[in-house]
Amino acid sequence: MSSPRLVITGANGFVGRYVVAEGLRRGFRVGAVLRPTTATSSLGSLADHPALEILRGDLRHPKGLDGQLHHDDVVLHLAASKGGDFGTRFAGTVLATEHLLANADAAGVRDLVAVSTFSIYDQSAVKAGSAFDENVPLIAEPNKRDDYAKTKLVQETLYREWGDATVAVGPDAGSPHRMVIVRPGMIWGREELWHALLGSPLGPRFLRIGKSATLPLIYTENVADALITAAEALIDPDRAADAHGQTVNLVDDDLPTQDAYVDALAARGFDVPASVTVPWSMWRAAAGAGDLVNRALFDGNMKLPGIVVPEQLDARFKPFRYPNERAKHVLGWRPRHDFHTAMDRAMSTDDLLSIDTTVNAAS
């Protein structure tokens, strides 16, 4: 029996291209979902791989992938909207997921690797310095968080309802869906080296908030490895039962602090923006005071920039420890590249998407 096809949404995105590459390296047929007008060349050197199929569709449309899925596909859903107003994000994340799952149901698809995010956790509900794992509560008051977190939270509701349902049609009709939800931390890589966990632009400079918080990072090639490993776990008869229904956080092993991350970038020639650094505790205290004033005088109705909203600050800068044992246990995954190796790769000129058989052997 041939191995199932991996259908990867958001295939030409920042992470998606690495997931496509990793799927091809592991010998899968890969269906890369691209929007109708997206050039195939956006997949770079992967575009001509003989095991790659291009699936055309816009998931914001109800029939985005209608008729293009097969019952034995494993769907890896990466596509999401990270920009625009709430409506744009809702369409690109929530509607897209609703439509994808409906299209999958119509085809009798059983397996889903559902990509979520750390952003849906309620960091304010956890004591600083504690272990931040899958038991951290989810956002209780979405209005205090940004649109990305709000829409990803709704998306996970859809995931869970799908995961609790059974296959409606096809050879697996009546069987329960199989699904793993993965919540990556901040994904970084060659395409996104300077990120929101370091601070925020402030005019011509960059406002760095804190120096010593451990960053919940995962490197692009490592997250791609984890997602394909999750797909393999779902279709492995010996592992599927343990994997189904699980939610796992994805972070690397050797996580740097904010300072160590910036130093590693600078040591490799990255042009670090001119920055002003403020201590986390001072900035957070000021934001907390502002929040009190907002509540006391304006009934909390004043809409302030996220960089001074306590809940949004906590989500980005509050210091925690980040274990990854559950992902290792459920998926049998280990981060392939340590931090400094990952940094070397990200800052190199190597083609990280090449289908190198030596990587196969290593994995």
């Binding site: 109708p36 109800p62 920009g83 744009t88 929530v94 509607l95 509701t157 109705n301 809409k303």
Partner: protein
């Protein structure tokens, strides 16, 4: 998912002050309508409907109603609303509004209520026969700046109105924007005025607001697609209207631009004695009118008065942003006035005559005979 826990409550009479409200279409603009309905004592939100189950569910949970539907007919049958807000894409407005009227509900419909004047007449005739109201969203008429200009005109501070210019600049062609998305083409491009049809009702009812007495006799409309391509049929309108009112000649100017920045929405009213300007996106009002001190001192007095206004508006606009008082505040006022009128049995603030005049101007502008 097509479910509801809404009750089949008996329709409330016009004597009660709280009207049962339902919403069809939970995208984009619905947040403004639903926000009002959630917060207002005049309305009781009994149902939301969207073709997308998760969208309907999100709206229902966020705005506080258990009446969540994906089928409009089912929602109307089960919730028996007094008022239905039709907030779907424009091409579906007439059909949905007619079915709401059939069910005995008043209809508050987003602009344009109908794609053409004959279809608007069909809708309004049906409403009249059913003794119901159809109210098209003319929200910017109720913004503070427009109200201030209208008050100045009514007080005679500008003299006789001679020219009205409505100018909107929007960056509708930026990649990733909802109108420029090649992957999921916006249905508005198929309307008679292309993407401009999404805004032309605003331009036109504002013109009519200050020139309702004018018979437009000469019109020249330049429709352009400056950005080119196949997706956009139009992205620019430059229209001049010349007419006569009871006190003589009046000029109108309607301008929509996708090329100029920053984004703005300006209303300028020029009279025989003075002129007033308001900007609706970054609100301010300027009046250049005869001041105490006579003709020679008025220019200086206007400079001082308007300078003080602009300086103060800078701070007030920061406050408006922080307190989330958006350019849609006029919509909330329109809705409040409408609900009050419907509850009291009086004429709503947007009348059939205003809607017909607005649609008539749009039809005239779209006439191939006036294209330049």
């Amino acid at each position: 998912m097509t479910s509801s826990s809404a009750t089949n409550a008996t329709r409330r009479t016009a004597a009660t002050s709280t009207l049962r409200a339902a919403v069809i279409g939970s995208g984009g603009i619905s947040a403004q309508h639903l926000g009002y309905l959630r917060d207002s004592a005049r309305a009781d939100l009994v149902g939301v409907c969207d073709l997308s189950p998760i969208t309907a569910r999100y709206a229902g949970e966020f705005y506080g109603t258990a009446g969540i539907f994906t089928d409009a007919a089912q929602m109307i049958a089960e919730t028996r609303p007094d008022v239905v807000h039709v907030l779907t894409p424009p091409s579906s407005h007439v059909g949905l509004a007619l079915s709401c009227l059939d069910a005995g509900a008043h209809v508050l419909v987003e602009k344009p209520a109908a794609p053409t004047l004959p279809e608007l007449h069909t809708l309004l005739d049906k409403a009249a026969a059913a003794d119901r109201h159809v109210i098209e969203n003319h929200n910017y008429r109720f913004n503070d700046g427009v109200v201030a200009l209208a008050d100045a005109v009514a007080a005679g501070r500008l003299g006789t109105v001679r020219e009205v210019e409505i100018r909107m600049a929007l960056d509708i062609r930026s990649p990733g924007g909802r109108f420029a998305d090649e992957n999921l083409p916006n249905g508005i491009h198929k309307m008679p005025a292309g993407v401009v049809h999404d805004f032309i009702t605003h331009l036109t009812y504002l013109l009519d607001h200050f020139t309702s007495h004018v018979d437009w006799q000469r019109i020249a409309a330049g429709w352009s697609n400056h950005g080119g391509g196949d997706l956009f049929t139009v992205d620019d309108l430059d229209c001049t209207l010349i007419g006569h009112g009871p006190e003589g000649a009046v000029h109108g100017k309607l301008r929509f631009s996708a090329l100029t920045g920053p984004e703005q929405f300006m209303v300028t009213v020029r009279g025989s004695e003075g002129f007033g300007v308001t900007e609706l996106f970054q609100p301010y009002v300027e009046l250049n009118v005869p001041r105490a001190g006579g003709g020679q001192l008025s220019p200086i007095a206007n400079h001082i008065a308007n300078g003080r206004t602009r300086f103060g508006e800078g701070f007030r606009n920061v406050g408006r942003k922080l307190m989330q008082r958006s350019p849609y505040h006029g919509l909330h006022q329109l809705l409040d006035d409408t609900y009050a009128a419907l509850a009291d049995g009086t004429e709503p603030p947007v009348t059939p005559e205003q809607m017909i005049r607005t649609a008539s101007i749009i039809d005239a502008i779209l006439d191939p005979e006036v294209r330049v």
